[in-house]
Amino acid sequence: MSEGFSPAISVKDLTKSFGDKVVVKKLSLQVEQGEIFGFLGPNGSGKTTFIRMLCGLLRPDSGSGICLGYNIVSESAKIKPNIGYMSQKFSLYEDLSVRENLNFMGRMYGIPRQRLAVAEIMEHMGLSRFAEQLAGTLSGGWKQRLALASCLLHKPKLLLLDEPTAGVDPKARRDFWDDVYSMAALGITALISTHYMDEAERCHRLAYLSYGNLLAVGTADEVTASSGLATWSISGKKMHELSAQIKALPGVELVIPFGNTLHVCGHDELLLSQSLHAMKNSEYRLEKIATGLEEVFISLMQDQGDS
């Protein structure tokens, strides 16, 4: 960590467009060392493009950035050996065995004592029993572990993980997060894009990106607080009938069903409270609750869609 306490990632006004479409708009962001940084946003919001710019796969149209102390535009060759990038799609060779894949990646990074390192990482990630199996025949969860192993092989300082847990079962996801935490404990920074709210809450800090615009940054609590949303939970019977009624009330901006309860949100806390209490009767239980990330993000997505 020769860079001391300087941020692992620091970008300013980063912009990238494909044709007429601006995918990332003047994005400015800082990620501290050893931080697990969550990256959220709807599909096509520019998360992948941003990550690709960080690891030198794409060249930004304008703006500047420092990654691990190097300029992302002019020094990507120095950044690459220090990052572990895991793309959205499984991007190892399905027709190579687990060991061959890891050996290959090891050679690509030119790591010393590669055979030993491969054996170690397979042991550590629990991949040893699949060593000679072709990667294409592994289950989704194990493929993901193999991909993570190949990212960690060269001991990077920064992990860029693009939707690493998409399509992976809950057990494998939990194991994956355990690994990420143990990496963070070693001082490795991780930037992780995800669609899962529970994963977002596990991150130290997170950012919400929508159609190229950064809409919120901070810890989970900061993000919910800064959203200014008030949330009430209503539970009872025949919730779906009630849902339509509530949507029409003044001050109600968002109604999200959670099983047998409805989460009702609005920015104007007073108006929302009045509206809800006005229709209150004994059949429903009304309760003010803390606003969760999910409400915040759906609200952000909705606002963005309206504009």
């Binding site: 690459k80 799609k89 499984f90 991007s91 060779y93 190579l96 050679r107 690509m108």
Partner: protein
């Protein structure tokens, strides 16, 4: 180079591609080497003879001896002969008219009619020219003593034909060395286009590019294994040419190997360019065929280059295969040295530079 090792492991795994790389040259060798013959012999012939004499018998005998004709049927009527030709049962009908020998002896220059089914000119032309010369020589033998005045007076000049490099006109001698170029074009263009497109299609290219290895190194790593494959195919064909087809290898094989690098590289450049244009592997294969077809047809591999109209020759001159064929045939059959083949080197070099620069340029763009 990590990629080279990986590529070989993958090649071994991918049985179909591997079989293609070995199987295609093998199959083409069998097909072109054994099956194709531009000098067909033993063509079925019917005889309609109204004159049973020494002369007619020795003419028929001489035709069979020439190797081009095989008398399969003796017919009795014109109608029967016409039917055989129409139905394609025979290629030729020899019609010896009545009183052929009597007229011959009287010096009346009787006509001898050879009807040919000339739908395929290539099939009949050699036989016809053989027929022309044999009628003269045969009768010269039979017309002896008092009949010698009927012999044709000697021509006022002698024409001497010296067929060099392949005096017997054996098709294989021309085809088999040419095959080397065809096989290399086919495998290298298709396989490189496929190999690069496959990386992108499967999303593994992204992974390769995120490693510290430079994009150009990635590309070189992808190409080297196929150069090696190309050389293995070449050796295979040279060995087959030598021991299976007994082609006289007149020239310097080492020179051939060195010069081939230029040709291999030119084809790889094409494959690379295609891979940057193709969205998926299917398109890559289609594009490769798009290139392969003119290569095989206009290069002089299948048909004589000089027989093509000028515009087709100009197209052919652009293709690296055209020049490579001249070089291979030059070295293997004529024993050409570096000096003789140089005129065919620079068109390939220009092609290589153009193909590679388009390839590189497109390749760089696809990264973004």
């Amino acid at each position: 180079m990590a990629i080279v090792i990986k590529e070989f492991v993958q090649m071994r795994r991918d049985r179909i591609t591997f079989a293609m790389m070995i199987g295609i040259p093998f199959m083409q060798m069998i097909l072109f080497g054994f099956a194709i013959n531009s000098d067909p012999k033993h063509l079925p012939t019917a005889v309609l003879s109204a004159d049973n004499s020494t002369f007619s018998r020795s003419i028929i005998q001489a035709m069979e001896n020439s190797g081009y004709f095989r008398v399969v049927k003796v017919v009795q009527s014109e109608a029967e002969a016409a039917l055989l030709i129409d139905e394609g049962d025979v290629q030729f009908v020899l019609n010896i008219p009545e009183q052929f020998s009597r007229k011959l002896l009287r010096g009346e220059r009787p006509a001898l009619l050879l009807t040919a089914d000339a739908t395929d000119p290539a099939a009949t032309s050699n036989a016809l020219s053989a027929f022309r010369s044999l009628t003269e020589s045969v009768l010269a033998r039979d017309l002896e003593g008092p009949l010698s005045h009927l012999r044709r007076p000697p021509a006022p000049l002698q024409s001497i034909i010296h067929t060099r490099f392949n005096p017997e006109g054996i098709t294989q001698y021309n085809i088999v060395p040419g095959l080397m170029g065809v096989v290399l074009t086919m495998t290298l263009v298709i396989i490189t286009a496929l190999a690069m497109t496959r990386e992108r299609e499967r999303g593994t290219m992204e992974n390769l590019l995120s490693t510290p290895v430079h994009p150009i190194e990635v590309m070189i790593g992808k190409i080297i294994p196929y150069i090696i494959v190309g050389y293995i195919q070449m050796c295979f064909i040279v060995l087959a040419a030598r021991y299976l087809f007994h082609v006289p290898l007149a020239g310097n094989l080492l020179l051939l190997l060195v010069v081939s690098l230029l040709f291999i590289a030119a084809n790889l450049g094409v494959g690379l360019t295609f891979s940057t244009l193709a969205r998926n592997q299917l398109q890559a294969v289609q594009m490769a065929f798009f290139f392969f077809l003119p290569s095989i047809l206009l290069s002089g591999f299948m048909f004589p280059f000089r027989g093509m109209p000028p515009w087709a020759q100009r197209v052919g001159e652009v293709l690296p295969l055209t020049h490579y064929l001249r070089i291979v045939r030059g070295i293997l059959l004529k024993g050409n040295g570096i000096h003789e083949i140089t005129p065919n080197m620079w068109p390939m070099a220009i092609f290589l530079v153009v193909a590679l620069s388009i390839g590189f340029k497109r390749y760089r763009r696809t990264l973004d």
